[in-house]
């Protein structure tokens, strides 16, 4: 009985440690561009698309380039590995996941946060009168 408990406890502890390790590893922390430049880890930066700056889509290499302003108001060129994300134009904010490489932010993924369109808003109620 005792041996069983010990074995069971070891299994549980190892399992939890494994999960905790994976958790820490795959948990991508938030940072601003300054912090992202310092660390060489993958981070996620929240900010907004600078519409005044040009965007570019490289059809051959499938890379989408745009300028993004982080929450500390620093503007950095972001190169996304992929095409323009869904609902990019209407997003209120974007989150770029990736690393800083030589003055640019190389993103593997850009999430867009949209105004919840299908939540009734005072503007839409006026339109449907």
């Amino acid at each position: 009985m005792k041996a069983k408990i010990v074995v069971g406890a070891v299994v549980v502890v190892v399992g939890v440690l494994l999960a905790a390790m994976n958790f820490m590893e795959s948990n991508v922390e938030y940072a601003d561009f300054a912090a992202a430049e310092q660390s060489h880890k993958k981070v996620q930066v929240k900010g907004e698309w600078v519409k005044e700056e040009p965007t570019q889509f490289d059809v051959q290499r499938v890379k989408f380039t745009f300028f993004m302003k982080d929450e500390s108001n620093r503007v950095v060129k972001v190169v996304l590995d992929g095409a323009k994300p869904n609902n990019f134009e209407i997003a209120t904010s974007v989150v770029a996941k990736g690393k800083f490489v030589g003055g640019e932010f190389h993103a593997s993924e850009v999430l867009t946060k949209c105004p919840s369109k299908y939540e009734g808003s005072p503007e839409t109620v006026k339109k449907t009168l």
Binding site: M1, K4, G15, L18, A19, N22, F23, E25, S26, N27, V28, E29, Y30, Q44, F57, V59, Q60, V62, G82, A83, K84, N86, N87, E89, I90, V95, L111, K113, C114, S116, K117, Y118, E119, G120, P122, T124, V125, K126, T128, L129
Partner: protein, 790 residues
């Protein structure tokens, strides 16, 4: 119409009160049995169900008749929806989906009442179950689905003073003070992503499953109340299997929906919404396995109660995670903040039912029988025990991952979600163990745990599994050890269960459910590996008419088709091995808010899916087009005709030039379209910084803007008529008017053997179904024995 809503709200309150009364009366009957009290409790439960049905009927009526003076109806529906979709708006929002959940819970309760009354379990069971129902109904009382729209938007809709004539969408709120409100005549519509036949069926099945998950919990609490730690497990098993089947079906359907229409690229994205239904399902399946142990050995009493309690507690926890708004910005789903009331009610509900179940368990622990733990490590029971624990560990790891925004808020002060890789890395080893156990456990059961025959029976499965693994390795190619191990174990489980299943089937077909369910899971696991580990994906830019080779397929973008004013189908010809098929992924460019919605299209080959998800269409509109204009010759650019007439270099400017001062030269350009023409001056300005070309804009009749800029001047000194200019033209930007030379960007992927996932699912469901039939028969025999005083 305002009356209908008021009636609905009142009936919802009645239903809540009746359910609460039923809980009290049943509990009273449980403490001191009395026929009349029991009859009253039953009536209360039926009143609750009846009132709820009436509430739902009113709600549905308001939706079907487009009563947009109700906020919910206005917010989620519109007059242009088809009937099935209109009906589905019933559960498109928070309030409606809680109503659906409560409705199914109340229906299941009627069956549960009849079922438990025959097994002397009604009082305790229904007291707990009615309490659960009353909490779901309380949600409807707190978050009223019948809120009037002018109460939601008073600033926009409520007005005072004389009522303007000629409006029929006006309601008088206070005649004495002449206060009135205007209400919408059209709804804001159902989210286009949900406008799909899956919306009609998937949520219904999912919520039936959620409702069914309450039953094992209820029966476990009832068992604790009754101090019956043995027979309850037989009573509860058919319900646990039923719940697993329904919820499992709902989960896979959601996966198929995401794969086929939402274009997530796969059937599983480890999204909080998906995870939140997976966690209770895993625990329920674990409880089914652990229950088998108790039937055989009489042990695992506490374990089984814990599993059954957790099944529903995790339903509540998941609901809290996905409905309270606590996950906030960390997922692709946007979780709406439903308000403080709902947040605390959900949290309270979770706390109450956790405390009720586990509190009672702790209270009863000292008197609970402890099992004589003398089974060997080399037994089916031990395999079942390990399997159930591995399943609950999967549930735990998924739960930790899903809760990561909460955990990181506590640790770092800022919410962030884990990456998908977390789920794969933590669950893969467990998947290997589970597959292996589901094979070994079955073998031990069938071979009666004799070492010699057991080892001998391993030969065939191991040979076949090695062969399968070799094929997967050889054909698809991978060196990931864990993946190959997973493949091996899944194949092992498949072979063993298929073999035993066929032998069981010869003996008694009714008993084949377990083996069949395992075969289903094993086939699904193989499908997971082949379709999501050996898939290949490429993002391709397809110029119209130009074939592109990728992954052994030749793709040609043929052109688009206008489905309606917002939706466009993009036809892509796919050639592979002499076969040619056309896929038509769809993009929807919303005029309302400029958003783009993308729907993939799939070619289903027997051995793989070819999956095409549209990304964007790049017309060359944004890129300037270069043209050389010879003097006097007209050129067609976009929708206009452009002619370079001559340079204009006035005397004053010539003078400035010769003095070395800034000067300019204009190119006189005529822009023409049907019935309209305009002169543009494309100017070259020369100053201290050198030459600068200034853009000029032409606005067409239809309001489209062309931007012209000269890039080069080529005057011919000897023959002025041979002069030319080079210009860049930015054509009007227009989403819907795609140019001939447009380029379609797609994400194409090959999903090998994805049909295994669907085939496995169907097998699993049939397995569950057979098991339910068998276990109900068993529970009925128990019930009959009980009634006859055996």
């Amino acid at each position: 119409m305002v009356l209908m809503g008021t009636l609905g709200s009142i009936l919802a309150t009645v239903a809540f009160a009746a359910a609460l009364a039923a809980a009290f009366l049943y509990y009273h009957t449980f403490l001191t049995p009395a026929e009349r009290m029991l009859a009253a409790a039953r009536i209360c439960y039926q009143v609750a169900t009846g009132s709820l049905v009436a509430v739902a009927a009113i709600f549905l009526y308001l939706i079907l008749t487009h009563q947009f003076q109700y906020t919910y109806v206005w917010q989620y529906s519109s007059t242009d929806l088809s009937l099935p979709l209109l009906v589905s708006t019933f559960y498109a929002g928070q309030e409606g989906s809680f109503m659906l959940w409560a409705l199914y819970t109340s229906f299941i309760g009627i069956f549960l009442m009849v079922y438990t009354s025959r097994r002397d379990y009604e009082n305790a069971t229904m007291s707990v179950y009615s309490l659960i129902l009353s909490f779901l109904l309380l949600m409807l009382v707190v978050k009223n689905p019948f809120t009037m729209i002018w109460d939601s938007f008073p600033a926009e809709l409520v007005k005072s003073g004389p009522i303007p004539p000629g409006f029929d969408n006006i309601v008088i709120l206070d005649a004495a003070r002449s206060i009135w409100a205007q209400f919408p005549t059209e709804g804001s519509g159902l989210n286009p992503l949900l406008q799909n036949y899956w919306m009609v069926i998937h949520p219904q099945i999912l919520f039936s499953g959620f409702s069914a998950m309450a039953v094992p919990y209820t029966l476990a609490v009832a068992a604790l109340m009754k101090r019956d730690y043995d027979s309850w497990i037989r009573i509860a098993t058919p319900w646990a299997v039923f719940g697993s089947m329904v919820l499992g079906t709902g989960i896979i359907m959601g996966g198929y929906w995401a794969y086929e229409t939402l274009g997530w690229g796969g059937f599983w994205g480890w999204d909080p919404v998906e995870n939140s239904s997976l966690i209770p399902w895993l625990l329920c399946v674990a409880s089914i396995h652990s229950a088998l142990n108790q039937r055989k050995t009489g042990g695992f009493v506490r374990t089984n109660i814990v599993f059954s309690l957790l099944t529903f507690v995790t339903v509540l926890y998941s609901t809290f995670l996905t409905r309270s708004g606590i996950l906030g910005d960390t997922s692709v789903h946007s979780f709406v903040d439903p308000g403080m009331w709902v947040y605390w009610l959900l949290l309270g509900c979770l706390g109450l039912f956790t405390l009720l179940g586990f509190g009672l368990l702790v209270f009863r622990l000292p008197e609970m029988p402890t099992a004589p733990a003398k089974h060997s490590y080399f037994s089916r029971e031990f395999a079942l025990f390990l399997g159930a624990f591995a399943l609950s560990f999967v549930a735990l790891f998924v739960m930790i991952g899903t809760s990561s925004p909460i955990i990181t808020t506590i640790l770092n002060g800022k919410a962030s979600a884990v990456e998908i890789s977390y789920y794969v890395r933590t669950n893969l080893p467990l998947g290997i163990i589970i597959c292996l156990l589901s094979g070994i456990g079955q073998l031990l059961w069938w071979r009666r745990s004799q070492a010699e025959t057991f080892v001998r029976s391993l030969t065939l499965p191991i040979t076949l599994s090695l062969l399968t693994t070799a094929v997967v390795y050889g054909v698809l190619g991978s060196s990931e050890v864990l993946i190959l191990l997973f493949t091996f174990c899944a194949a092992f489980s498949l072979v063993v269960n298929a073999k035993i299943g066929s032998e069981v089937f010869k003996g008694n077909p009714k008993f084949v459910g377990g083996s069949l369910a395992h075969v289903g899971i094993a086939v699904m696991c193989l499908g997971f590996v082949t379709s999501s580990r050996y898939d290949s994906t490429a993002t391709l830019a397809l110029e119209r008419g130009t074939p592109v080779e990728s992954m052994g397929y030749q793709l040609t973008y043929l052109g688009y088709e206008e489905l309606d004013s917002e939706r466009y189908a993009f036809n892509v010809q796919v050639r592979h091995g002499g076969v040619s098929k056309t896929v038509a992924p769809v993009m929807r460019f919303s005029k309302k808010d400029n958003s783009t919605m993308r729907h993939p299209d799939i070619i289903n080959f027997l051995s793989r899916d070819f999956y095409v998800a549209p990304v964007s269409v790049e017309s060359d509109a944004d890129q300037p087009v270069s043209h050389t204009l010879n003097r006097g010759k007209s050129e067609q650019i976009g929708g206009v005709t452009v002619t370079f007439r001559d340079f204009e270099f006035p005397e004053s400017e010539r003078a400035s030039m010769s003095e070395g001062k800034p000067f300019f030269i204009d190119a006189d350009v005529r822009v023409q379209e049907a019935g309209r023409s305009d002169q543009l001056k494309l100017r070259m300005k020369n100053g201290p910084q050198g030459a600068e070309f200034l853009p000029a804009t032409y606005t067409s009749k239809s309001g489209e803007q062309y931007v012209f800029v000269m890039t080069q001047m080529m005057p011919a000194q000897t023959d002025p008529s041979a002069s030319a200019i080079a210009i860049d033209v930015v054509l009007p930007h227009d989403h819907s008017a795609h140019k001939k030379d447009d380029t379609l960007i797609i994400e194409a992927s090959i999903k090998p053997m994805i049909n295994l996932v669907w085939a496995g699912t169907v097998t699993l469901i049939v397995g569950f179904l057979l098991t339910i039939i068998r276990r109900i028969g068993e529970a009925s025999r128990d019930g009959a024995r009980l009634e006859s005083g055996d």
